[in-house]
Symmetry: C2
Subunit: 188 residues, 2 copies
């Protein structure tokens, strides 16, 4: 991608986020997003499949980063150890910009269609991690249980991080909540 | 509800499930469902808000049953112990009819819109269980972690049960997978 094109995507994303926050996601059109940046709708569609894509463009990179970390965990790692490595990798993507994440979260929470998309993203992520664990030789149901338990930690941690007014360290929170899950599930 | 009305709902549900399986969910109309039973579309709408509702009519009873079991768990029960009681209660609703559940699962799996609805149902259930745990005095993030981990066990167990050709005992599977989750999450 040429340098100015990268700039265009970033400007379009910024303008879209502003408009979604000001008017609501439903009420914003691609033409308005393009207008605010001085670019055309055609340029918008070179970078994003649709309005929704602006909010979910990072999903593939997140999934790839998590699956790679799971795959690269030492062969001696337990299923949950490998999932822990994936969670640790996720914080590089998710913990980058607290202000942006807070805005995105507010936009998504206000729109049922976007919330559904977020749930589907999480289910897809869980399925990818399960597949990665099976490739590591983990049998079912352990692979699905460990992968989905990891996604629970990710969701709970990210939700708390993003709704907290001050930016705490997401990586520390993630590893602390993974430990909490272990404590909570085994307390008899 | 008068007796004949209960009969109408059951007949409509049966006809709808047949048609969804034969033609696909999208391709079936309410008029066709009513036709097959010799009833009117008006009668259909007295029992179900829409076509989709036929497949999700049991959701409220399931949630109520699970939340009640969680609430009624002895005060000494740990968070996961209370969630275990809710999971046990869920099997009364989910494990009733393997053949019906298998058909329903095949219909839902073939339709992204129905799969989304199923995900939302699970997220709502997790939120209800978290709220129930907080009422029992469980702090966050433990309440969310325990509730969502329980939903993971429910989803993994039900998916395996419903895709298995022979009906195993759902209640036994549920409790065995809850134990597996505990083993998997704590193996270092």
């Amino acid at each position: 991608m040429a340098r100015w094109e990268g700039g265009a995507a970033a400007r379009l994303r910024e303008a879209a986020m502003e408009l979604y926050a000001e008017r609501g996601f439903e009420q914003t059109t691609v033409a308005e997003i393009a207008d605010r940046t001085g670019l055309t709708a055609r340029t918008f569609f070179r970078h994003f499949a649709d309005k929704r894509e602006v909010l979910f463009a990072g999903s593939e990179a997140l999934q790839e980063g998590m699956v790679t970390a799971l795959r690269d965990a030492p062969p001696s790692a337990t299923p949950m150890g490998a999932v822990g490595a994936a969670l640790d990798a996720s914080t590089v993507f998710l913990g980058r910009d607290h202000t942006h994440s807070r805005r995105r979260h507010a936009i998504i929470s206000a729109n049922p269609e976007l919330l559904e998309r977020e749930l589907i993203k999480m289910a897809t992520l869980a399925a990818a991690l399960s597949a990665g664990l099976r490739e590591r030789g983990v049998p079912e149901p352990d692979a699905s249980l460990a992968a989905q338990a990891g996604i629970v930690v990710l969701q709970v941690t990210f939700e708390r991080w993003v709704t907290s007014p001050a930016a705490t360290d997401l990586r520390t929170e993630m590893s602390s909540n993974l430990e909490r899950l272990q404590t909570v599930t085994t307390a008899q």
